[in-house]
Amino acid sequence: MLASKLTPLRAAFRQVTRPRLFDLLDAGARQPLTLVSGPAGAGKTTLLASWSASRQPPGPVAWLSLDAGDNDAARFWTYVLAALRRSGAVPRDSALRALDPPPGPDQAFLSHLVGGLAELPTPVVLVLDDLHDITDPTVLEGLEFLLRHGPAPLRLVLSTRVDPPLPLQRLRVGGRLAQVRAADLAFTVAEVAELLAECELQQQLSEDDLATLQARTEGWAAGLRLAALSLEGQPDPHQFVTQFAGEDRSIADYLTGEVLERQPKELRDFLLLTCVVDELSGDLADALTGGDDGQSMLDRLERANAFVAPVGSRRGSYRYHRLFAELLRYELRREAPGQAARLHRRAAGWYAERGLGDSAVQQALLAKDWRYAADLIARDAPSRILRGDAATVHDQVGQLPDELVQADPQLALLAAAEPHTAEPDTAESPDEARQDRLALLRATLGTARAWQAGDLAEVMVAGEAALALRSRVGTGSVDDDARAITLANVGEAAMWAGHLDDAEPRLREGLAVAGRAGPAELELACLSQLGLLHALRGEREDALRWGGSAEALAAEHGWSSSTQAAGGYLAQAWAHYHADDLGEASGYLDRAASASGTGRQPMALAVAILRARLRRARGDLTGALDAVAIARRGLAGWRPPTALWRWLLLTEAELHGSVGQPQSSRALHETLDGSGPLLGGEAVSLARLCLAEGDAAGAAETIAPCLDGAAPGGFLMVPAEAWLTDALAHDALADHDRAAASLERALDLAEQGGHRRSFLDAGAPARSLLTRYRQRVPAFWSYLDELVQASAESARVTVAAPKLIERLTEREQTVLRYLPSLMTYEEIAADLVVSLNTVKTHAHGIFRKLGVTGRRQAVRTARELHLL
């Protein structure tokens, strides 16, 4: 669906090169805005498409074909971003990569968009074709905002039948608006000659004939195209022109008749039967005509340069020129009233069979087959709503007759599907199966609302109810889709609530359902969360495996910066952190941060907590405190899921302890107790706080339930850490045998699981413990020596955080932004239009100033210094 909106229609007809108009557009593309306005069929799209394909535009062209369905701010800006990314103007590290429009109007989003555009390294031409179809005030206000702030690289080109309600006068006065209007678009006599050059009979037309044609059509492109088609096979072209000129009939009317009458019957029938859909394939044509020669007819039409144009780069997909489709549809209604509805119904069935819900609903509505349309809408509604697209459902139901909606409780419920609408009281249905479906729909809506409100407890309740009902209601492929989303949502909610063991089977099942039936984005979501779940349990190998799969799947689909990918990065960041590979951890954490965004959501908070741990590991305690403080401000009154909230409190308490402002562990314990029993990982943190206060007995008591597995794990219940804490506690209690035994256990677990960081984070007391008990753990001498050395180094490193030797120049900063990409120096040079040597010189300058020797290291250090 998307591809056809983001690529211009390939020309259906012979191209006429129109240098005078290219010149106007070239001049326009040096301005912020170019307005191309003219009536239907004036040749706006054709002109812009051929100009875009020429080498003339000052930068990559992002193309978006608009239609009446785009009157929704979120959808409109999603398409705009997709078009920009597709154009090649947006580098990998641009803010525009990760930007995602929120549902509904949002000033912050627009500001980010403007900011991202302003930073683009090259100009980009954004063509919005058929802007007259956009009437939604929010979308138009957004465009106005974009124009008012006019980020320099953006060159907006609007094509429209009517002048848009934008502040054009102000731009015109400032000389910042270029216009190509109907009079410019009109074909000149010379252009008419070129247009007809392909026509065999053109030689038989005199200069006067061409001038007559031009005058009669007033250079109207569509009229000239129709005239060219009518001329094919005319015994006397001159006679035809003369007659046409003498006609008082409307041009479109006269020529449509001429053209259609000239077609062989089978072609004429084919045109009339297939004009009811917007996009046509051979197979769909067959479904409409009941024949089997759809593909060959379309090929024939394309070869004859008549009526249809191939869509985008896909083979076998065609579109009628809009004006012709319109003319054909009226012809169909005139010749066979009632036939159009039957054709729409056939098209709806064809789309529905192929799972193309949107098009199926649209065609069923056009067919006025309300019952069928209602069934199609209801079938796709749950997965739509769960994806946060309740607005479309609402809109679709709104097109059904009121009586039908009122009489059907399921539709009445969907009519109120918008998350902010209260649920209507619906009559109980006597039919049990229908009642189940209704309950399922209600639970589904409940899940979506709870998710939107950030109420994860309610997500679990409503989601589990939906899952239970779903097994009773029966399944289909669309149903599976909703089931996979529900499983992913419930799994994620359970994970953030700290119920890792409940979350795992849900996510695994979600993965299986998504892998079998569903879209890859759900698979990605499940893989990411599974990776993170293992990371939160401290299971490094599994975290790397699942997280790595998520990363690979995201890369394969070009979703590397999507929110769904964030969990996979964070999982790997934790895994590397545990193993004390801080550079890798930092790299993955940055990717998680940019994919997850900021603000009131669990992932952002989890990212901040690891950020704090990483900074503390580097000895940057102030930075660590900053990270949690910023995260706390980002919550803005939102209460995160309990386990996550407690994790934040404990992280803060440990950090305050490290800077010599200990909080009372008892008070903290009481706070935590108020929101439920202590989980394993929390007990370990709390025990460490007790130790820091000198309360060894309290520490030993707190840690005990974690060691025998009596307490549920929760976040970061790393067994090596628990045993180490136990060893420290019993050492302080002078129970040396117990301390030695626990230390041995901790060493064994840490070596097996790759948890060096557990010892390093425990700092000087752990180093002292290791040194003093060395004789008692001979089996681990080499590992123990390694740890002692690393711990001592880590204590020194805290002073020597990386720093920038000298400021980077502007050119160096530009080159630096390319370094994380996979582009070679040659490719970077080509992209920046400089020589290879220049890029190499800048790269070496960057290395020197960062104090590194290679590209990979430079990226890592630059990230640590927040230069990237």
């Binding site: 039948r161 009939r249 409307s250 004006l323 319109e326 009226y330 005139r334």
Partner: protein, 75 residues
Amino acid sequence: MMRNRPPGPTVYQIVVRGELSQRFRPAFEGMALVAGDGRTVITGPVVDQAHLHGLLDRVGDLGLELVSVNPTTAA
């Protein structure tokens, strides 16, 4: 100084350039098409502004040139 509108639809005359045949009648359902003198007068009841704009959009969709739009005084 608001005058009460007469109840019911207003009859509008929409004039487009060129003579339209019956071909385009379905595009203007419920309206009378009278062609002559190089133009076509589309006459009929228009219930409200949305209806009127819908008709004008159709004129645009078909690539017709709009000459004038006038409400006729109720008989």
